[in-house]
């Protein structure tokens, strides 16, 4: 994985949300923390091109988010906070197959890929179920399946456990730890990212600290006090 920010800056309605940032991300497990409004969410969305830099540039595995947005999004999947808002077709299997539609695979291959990814997350029996019948945790796993069925190199997750109850939170946490993909997680849940390789702390639109979990989390506590 090779994500690069080169003096990349994000603005919203005239205000700078992320000040010019230069860094390189290669670690397998990266956490992003910060207070609400610190810019961490915008930062995450700059990686997959949902937010484009007002200045500077962002590249993911060599692809520029402005010029090759589609390729960037092929490299990096994104999981959002609310489980309900990510499964968009009534039946789970159909939703997951949606990601493969652009590949125009024969129907049997699509079905196999869908079943394989459902099995990977232990929800093979939920394939024919309707989205609104499932719990938050099951939906987040389904969202993971829908995003990872295309086998992206990187997975970005924005507060993936925020809206889940304790049991579902544990379920999703365990799943995240077992992922082979490179994972970048934004989270208020410090327990989730405490074992990661590298943590980025954002504060007022700037990178306030960047390093191993122990020191960055300690710095975060100071800032939040």
């Amino acid at each position: 994985m090779d994500i690069r920010f080169e003096q990349a800056e994000a603005r919203f309605e005239g205000r700078t949300v992320v000040h010019p940032l230069t860094l390189s991300l290669t670690e397998r497990r990266i956490g992003v923390i910060g207070l609400n409004g610190s810019g961490k969410t915008t930062f995450a969305r700059m990686i997959n091109g949902l937010v484009l830099p007002a200045a500077g540039r962002v590249t993911v595995n060599g692809f520029d988010t402005v010029k090759d947005g589609d390729k960037v999004r092929g490299q990096a999947g994104f999981i959002f906070q609310n489980p309900q808002n990510q499964i968009i077709l009534p039946i789970l299997k159909e939703d997951i197959a949606l990601g493969l539609k652009s590949r125009k695979l024969p129907k049997a291959d699509t079905e196999k890929a869908v079943e394989a990814v459902l099995a990977r997350f232990g929800i093979a029996d939920l394939g024919e179920r309707r989205a609104h019948e499932l719990s938050g945790g099951e939906l987040q796993l389904a969202a993971l399946a829908s995003v990872l069925v295309t086998r992206p190199d990187i997975l970005i997750m924005d507060e993936p456990t925020n809206q889940l109850d304790l049991r579902n939170r544990g379920l999703v946490e365990r799943t995240i730890h077992g992922l082979e993909e490179n994972v970048i997680v934004i989270s208020h849940d410090l327990g989730l990212i405490a074992g990661f390789d590298r943590i980025l702390l954002f504060h007022e639109g700037r990178l306030a600290h960047d390093g191993v979990p122990a020191e960055v989390i300690a710095r975060y506590h100071e800032l939040a006090a």
Binding site: R73, G77, F78, I88
Partner: protein, 201 residues
């Protein structure tokens, strides 16, 4: 969501949507050009026979056709009062025939087949830049996906009203329902774009 499609293996079931829709259009046009109650009655009876051949049973058929039968009856009575028996009979038989033929197409065509056909028909519009054909199936899927969520939200809002001793009124129910539902639009749209579902092929 329950559909009005009925499983079966009749000739009409096996026929693809396009000839059925074209046939229905042709039949409708013809029915509007005929003004003889005798011919129209024949058409209505023919329509009835075709509908009966689907073997839905009396109860199912009545449940499906009741609203339109009642509407036709009221309209026919109305026409009788203002225009006399001839016009009333023409209106009644024409509309009944139309209803039967339309109901037959609906009962023998699955929603999936309809959506595929609409997507195919939208392709020329896509080339003109008016609409993206795949968006139609996606939009329909989105609606069906979120109706149950909205219903749950509606129940929750109504229950919250009752718990506070307020009588639920259209305004106080509709406004929070709409705001809470539409607020999800940004995240849903971001999720769709992040998965590249609407990306240019």
């Amino acid at each position: 969501m329950k559909t009005l499609y009925v499983e079966g293996d009749t000739f009409l079931h096996r026929l693809s949507p396009r000839p059925k829709l074209l046939g229905l259009a042709a039949v409708s046009l013809t029915l509007f050009l005929i003004h003889s109650p005798a011919v129209l009655s024949g058409a209505a009876i023919l329509g009835g026979f075709v509908y009966a051949s689907l073997r839905l049973g009396w109860r199912q058929s009545w449940l499906r056709l009741r609203p339109i039968v009642l509407t036709i009856a009221i309209v026919a009575l109305f026409t009788l009062a203002f225009n006399g028996p001839h016009d009333a009979l023409v209106a009644a038989t024409r509309l009944t025939a139309l209803a039967f033929f339309a109901a037959v197409v609906t009962a023998t065509t699955s929603t999936g087949d309809f959506i595929d056909e609409i997507t195919r028909l939208a392709m020329p519009l896509e080339r003109l830049g008016v609409v993206k054909a795949a968006d139609i199936g996606l939009s329909i899927g989105l609606v069906i996906r979120f109706v149950p969520e909205i219903l749950s939200r509606y129940q929750a809002i109504r229950d919250a009203h009752r718990a506070r001793g307020l009588r639920p009124k259209p305004l106080t129910l509709a406004v929070p329902l709409i705001i809470l539902t539409l607020k999800n639009a940004d995240e849903i749209a971001a999720a769709i774009d992040a998965r590249g579902i609407r990306a240019q092929k």
